[in-house]
Symmetry: none
Subunit: 230 residues, 2 copies
DNA sequence: GACTTTCTTAAGACTTTTCTTAACTCTTTT
DNA sequence: AAAAGAGTTAAGAAAAGTCTTAAGAAAGTC
């Protein structure tokens, strides 16, 4: 299964946003447009990102404010793309936590090359550092080694099962609808009327209960979806 | 004790070199001037660096040539500082492995801010681990001499094979995806659908099992990648 | 420039996972 | 109790991922 690179594009101008998204798509990554700071925050909370392109002049929450928020809380590289060409603004942004700053109008090829450059280096770093541990009850997942330990026993899951499980553990309180799951794990639209997920859930539960028959991990929320048992 | 940050400044113009060194010194880092590509190579071989500032127009070995050499062999971030302002040059440099590109005449504050920005993000990674011996089961690798001993026998591996093997041994529990391997060993983006890695793995395994037929070292993790057998 | 080694590409065989379907059961809601 | 939603199981088919081999391309060496 191919791992996607996700890039958030925060830019209120529709044309520029579309252009940036096209550049990203042409490089083989997956862009997500956001047209305001507040919208960007929602996306940033929803999932993890490999990079953020950020305009400084935004409606509502300013770009600077958002930049500060991101650099304090998230390890994601941020590239500012702004019409503000004053040195002072540029320097402030870089000092606040931006990883790059380019001014409009920009050269398409250069933006593309810079995105690649940052990702290249950042991914290398991510590989050796950034070990995340996911825990829930007696389930321990090391996202680096992809080893899942349940009740002190190492359990082997298929790639899909692993994806579902880590998704659930990443937001222990959230109820995931079937559409949610389909879009996250399969990266496809969900058209309902499909028990593929049921089958996978069934297999997941059976592997889990084999490891620990006394515990119950996944809860069905009737008419909605699934969540971890609280 | 705080460890010093060392930055190599490759620039043939004496005044500019001095200026850059001053900027670096004022930021609390330790600069090392080099006035030609060949001189830079000597410094690069002598010790490890946290960052390299590089002019493209150099006597003897060109900056482009040096950049290529560095990005192939070393994980250090490189910032190009050049009078060449053509987009094509800039893009080529970024694609070759440069982490940033600024044109002369440059703004002192901006250079300073950009250096800090790169160091901030990549500093931890650059704390080059000085591992001299890698061990796993009956495999012993001396990373200085690059000699690999398996089951008391010295085995010769090709450069790629050696790179893959040391990567695996560096994190014995980690599952390396193909993208991981490609980015570390080849220093290139992975677009999937490529069995080069499979072939190298096959060759690696066959060499290893020739040295010790009773042992099994590399495990395939389906749908994910490879790891060392636990 | 010829020789050697190493790397990459391609093709086919092979393995494992995933999907789909279907029949049947269980649970909750109305 | 009936209806709707959800769960389980199993089996075959399809898809995805991997392994191996061999030959040509590229790189490095003398």
């Amino acid at each position: 299964m191919e791992s996607e690179i996700n890039i958030l594009v925060v830019e209120d101008d529709n044309d520029i946003n579309t252009l940036l998204c096209d550049i990203i798509r042409n490089s083989g990554y997956r862009p997500q447009p956001a047209f305001s700071g507040t919208e960007a925050v929602l996306y940033l909370e929803k999932r993890s990102w490999d990079m953020v392109l950020l305009d400084l002049m935004l409606p509502g929450m300013s770009g600077e404010e958002l930049l500060e928020k991101i650099s304090e809380q998230l390890p994601v590289p941020v590239m500012i793309i702004s019409a503000k060409s004053e040195q002072q603004t540029k320097i402030e942004a870089l000092r606040t936590g931006a990883d790059d700053y380019i001014t409009k109008p920009f050269d398409i090829e250069e933006v593309s090359a810079r995105i690649d450059s940052h990702l290249r280096r950042y991914r290398r770093m991510n590989q050796t550092l950034h070990i995340k541990e996911l825990n829930y009850k007696d389930i321990r997942i090391n996202t680096e080694s992809q080893i899942v330990v349940v009740n002190e026993k190492e359990i082997l899951f298929t790639a899909r099962e692993y994806a579902i499980l880590t998704l659930l553990l990443s937001s222990p309180k959230k109820v995931f609808t079937k559409a949610n799951l389909f879009e996250s794990v399969w990266n496809e639209k969900y058209y309902g009327d499909d028990n593929t997920i049921s089958v996978h859930m069934s297999n997941l539960r059976s592997k889990l209960s084999k490891a620990n028959p006394h515990e119950d991990y996944i809860e069905t929320v009737w008419g909605v979806g699934y969540k971890l048992k609280t």
